[in-house]
């Protein structure tokens, strides 16, 4: 009974939101459901943070490997949470925390990422030496060469129309083809969820 009710609520809400894009009479109901969705998603953040805290408190309790990092996470979480409650989100102290800690940390990750990608590119041909991998590496080199030219030096092959054709026509049309396939997959998944055939909740 609960399973059927859950499927009806999910399918019904999804259908109203979808039809709201086509039928003006349903726009108000669509906006209301989307607002409810956003409120529920915000409440889910609190539940998620409690989960995050409980996982790291568990690591501390059991003195697992890297437990000191968990202690730093819990302390930072508590400090930011209390400051967020006491001050308003736009307060200069909170802005400073974001600008001085979170943004540089994400920058560090981007830097690490460039090294990771370089190492992945080098290891790709060691791991999987096939036509697709060779084409992938060749395309990546062509795109890199055509986008990072040496100033005041003429590079005959890189400046040729063939390289720009490869990047502008070949890569772009391939990307569009992949995106079309992804869109069709997303539509089929959406239809499955709307019809209640795929239920990522409950015991269905």
């Amino acid at each position: 009974m609960v399973r059927v009710a859950l499927a009806l609520v999910a399918g019904g809400a999804g259908l109203v939101v979808l039809l709201g894009y086509f039928l003006p009479e349903l726009r108000a109901a669509q906006a209301l459901l989307l607002r409810w969705g956003m409120i529920l998603a915000s409440a889910a953040v609190l539940v998620g943070i409690l989960n995050l805290a409980s996982v790291h408190l568990g690591k501390l309790r059991h003195r697992e490997k890297n437990a000191p990092y968990s202690a730093v996470l819990i302390a930072s979480l508590a400090a930011t949470f209390v400051l967020g409650l006491l001050l308003k989100p736009g307060h200069p102290v909170l802005a400073a925390i974001i600008n001085a800690i979170v943004v540089p940390a994400e920058g560090t990750f981007m830097a690490l990422l460039s090294i990771s990608l370089l190492s992945a590119g080098v290891r790709l041909l060691q791991r999987r030496l096939d036509l697709m991998s060779i084409l992938f590496v060749a395309s990546a080199i062509a795109v890199l060469l055509s986008s990072a030219r040496v100033p005041s030096i003429e590079t005959p092959i890189v400046d040729s129309a063939a390289v720009s054709w490869l990047t502008d026509v070949f890569s772009l049309s391939g990307a569009r083809g992949i995106l079309l396939g992804v869109s069709l997959g997303a539509i089929a998944t959406g239809l499955r969820v709307l019809l209640g055939a795929d239920r990522p909740y409950g015991d269905g």
Partner: protein, 246 residues
């Protein structure tokens, strides 16, 4: 209104195909990523190794929600297949709503296997909110928890490279499947196996989720051929100067 009519036709076709596949199970062409994963999961379930399913940081209220929903279907199936394993399957997500559904999908997977009583809610974890915080939170889990299979199924951008590298350092099989173009390029280069294009959405059919997933895959393929024919007809008409079609 034409779009609505097309969606209704698509839904009718999906129902028809599901009924058809229930009677006559379809044969599927070989997709390396899912075939390797199937084989590795069977081995892992037998030897008690741990599987980590990373769902990414896709927001369910945004267009990338479909990738998250597919990741959840994969999670449920893999949780069911590894439920009796010595080491529980772990699922991490970078979005709070996705996290709640992941815990529910894990529980449902254990229910499907008939061992709901051994389910541990702590195996569904929110690693961080947003792409990079998520990657930062999931990295130690991939490196420290004896993971032998890491599946990246959902919305991933370039941060997938960090996750793949961390898992490969632990000698884990890494299967990457995302709907994001950058993420696909990154997983192609960094993961042991990667699903390209719409192959992410074929996961359910390949992992044995039943006739609805097979029907959905057939619908996807049918629509793709229609789009291909339409594009070719349009290009031919443009070449021939038939402006009303091209």
């Amino acid at each position: 209104m034409q779009i609505l009519a097309a969606l209704i036709a698509g839904a009718a076709l999906l129902v028809g195909l599901a009924v058809w596949h229930r009677k006559r199970p379809a044969g599927l062409r070989r997709l390396r990523a899912w075939t390797s994963l199937n084989r590795a999961v069977d081995d892992a379930a037998g030897s008690g190794e741990r599987l980590h399913l990373a769902l990414g940081a896709g927001n369910l209220l945004h267009p990338e929600g479909a990738a998250g929903l597919t990741g959840l279907a994969v999670l449920r199936r893999l949780a069911a297949r590894t439920a009796r394993s010595r080491n529980a399957t772990v699922a991490t997500s970078g979005d709070a709503a996705l996290h709640l559904l992941a815990v529910d999908s894990l529980r449902a997977g254990y229910g499907d296997a008939g061992v709901q009583e051994v389910f541990q809610p702590g195996t569904g974890r929110l690693a961080g909110i947003g792409a990079f915080p998520y990657a930062a939170g999931a990295l130690p889990m991939l490196m420290d928890e004896n993971v032998s299979i890491a599946v990246l199924a959902g919305r991933f951008g370039p941060e997938a490279a960090l996750l793949s590298e961390a898992a490969e350092r632990s000698d884990a099989l890494v299967v990457g499947a995302t709907d994001d173009l950058t993420g696909q390029a990154v997983t192609f280069a960094s993961a042991s196996e990667s699903a390209i294009g719409e192959e992410l959405f074929a996961a359910g059919a390949y992992l044995g989720q039943g006739p609805w997933h097979t029907a959905s895959l057939t619908l996807q393929d049918t629509l793709r051929w229609l789009v291909v024919l339409f594009l070719l007809a349009g290009a031919a008409a443009r070449l021939l100067g038939w402006a009303w079609l091209g």
